[in-house]
């Protein structure tokens, strides 16, 4: 059977950015129109249309999300997210076993596994706590908070920079995975009745 759904990355962007109250309507509208275009002009054209809609909707959807909750709730959620996600980069930087990394790949692999698991957990918990606020803002904040930790690590002795590049990539991906899981788990928009 032909897949009649838009590309997954774009769908996730919409899911992440759209405010909870409007999410089902927005996703439903985009899907309905995507399928109409796919039937009439093919999936490629429909995919281009969908991508263009998503790109042009990023700013309005972020503004819409921000206006959906009170400023106090938005800030408290953001603050909680910052606090939680600050802890992980701090630990990541302070607990790095530089000497062990230089000795061989086994400890490096273990460190990587633990770091990735912790990153996914941090993303999940941070977003779950701040779910009513602005999950998209949390994602951006997490990315910004990792930057200083990774930059600091680049100057570390006797550790190849490729290690840090892999670590940053894995940790970033794991955090995003955790964030998206939390959004999906805690914001089942399709089942959320409007009031």
């Amino acid at each position: 059977m032909t897949d009649r759904n838009p590309p997954t990355p774009e769908r996730w962007i919409v899911h992440l950015l759209a405010p909870r109250r409007e999410r089902a309507a927005i996703e439903g509208d985009l899907l309905e129109r995507y399928r109409q275009i796919a039937d009439a002009r093919g999936r490629r054209q429909a995919g281009l249309w969908y991508a263009s809609q998503v790109l042009r909707s990023i700013v309005p959807l972020v503004l819409l999300s921000a206006s959906d909750v009170s400023i106090f709730r938005w800030l408290s959620g953001l603050g909680t997210g910052i606090l939680l996600t600050s802890v992980f980069p701090a630990l990541l930087t302070s607990l790095v076993p530089f000497e062990a990394f230089a000795q061989g790949p086994e400890l490096t692999a273990w460190y990587l596994v633990i770091a990735v698991a912790a990153a996914a957990a941090a993303g999940y918990v941070g977003t779950a706590v701040a779910r009513t606020s602005a999950p998209a803002a949390i994602v951006g904040m997490v990315a910004c908070l990792y930057a200083p930790a990774v930059i600091q690590m680049l100057g570390a002795p006797s550790v190849p920079s490729s290690y840090w590049a892999c670590l940053a990539l894995a940790v970033g991906a794991a955090t995003a995975g955790g964030v998206l899981s939390a959004v999906d788990r805690f914001s089942p928009a399709a089942q959320t009745p409007r009031r």
């Binding site: 309507a25 439903g28 509208d29 309905e32 909707s57 309005p60 959807l61 819409l64 399709a190 409007r194």
Partner: protein
């Protein structure tokens, strides 16, 4: 009575909601705007504008039934409230007054 001035986009969306009365949900409203004005409005801009209009009390919304072609998601139908109608009328009267007797043929716009 003085009320919030409608922005150009608000005016367009409000008129489109009125024109598609009874079936005014996102896709239909965007189609109407596209057909009438040639604008390809993004879904984000549309819903942000609808939200502003709703907050001003110019439109109200109601959730429909979930449908399979929308992946089981419900449509949100919008309708124009009396305040919205009054605001729309006020804007149209302003425009008419502004352009009354003006010959645009000789002017480059």
């Amino acid at each position: 009575m003085s009320r919030d001035r409608l922005t150009r986009l608000e005016l367009i969306v409000l008129a489109a909601v009125l024109r598609t009365s009874g079936e005014a949900y996102g896709v239909r409203i965007a189609e109407e705007i596209g057909q009438r004005t040639g604008r390809d409005i993004s879904v984000g801009s549309l819903y942000r504008t609808l939200k502003r209009l709703e907050q001003k009390g110019y439109v109200s919304s109601e959730e429909g039934e979930p449908t399979p072609e929308r992946g089981g998601r419900a449509k949100t139908f919008y309708s124009v409230e009396s305040q919205g109608l009054a605001a729309l009328r006020e804007s149209v009267l302003e425009m008419r007054s502004l352009f009354a007797g003006l010959n645009l043929e000789g002017h480059s716009i």
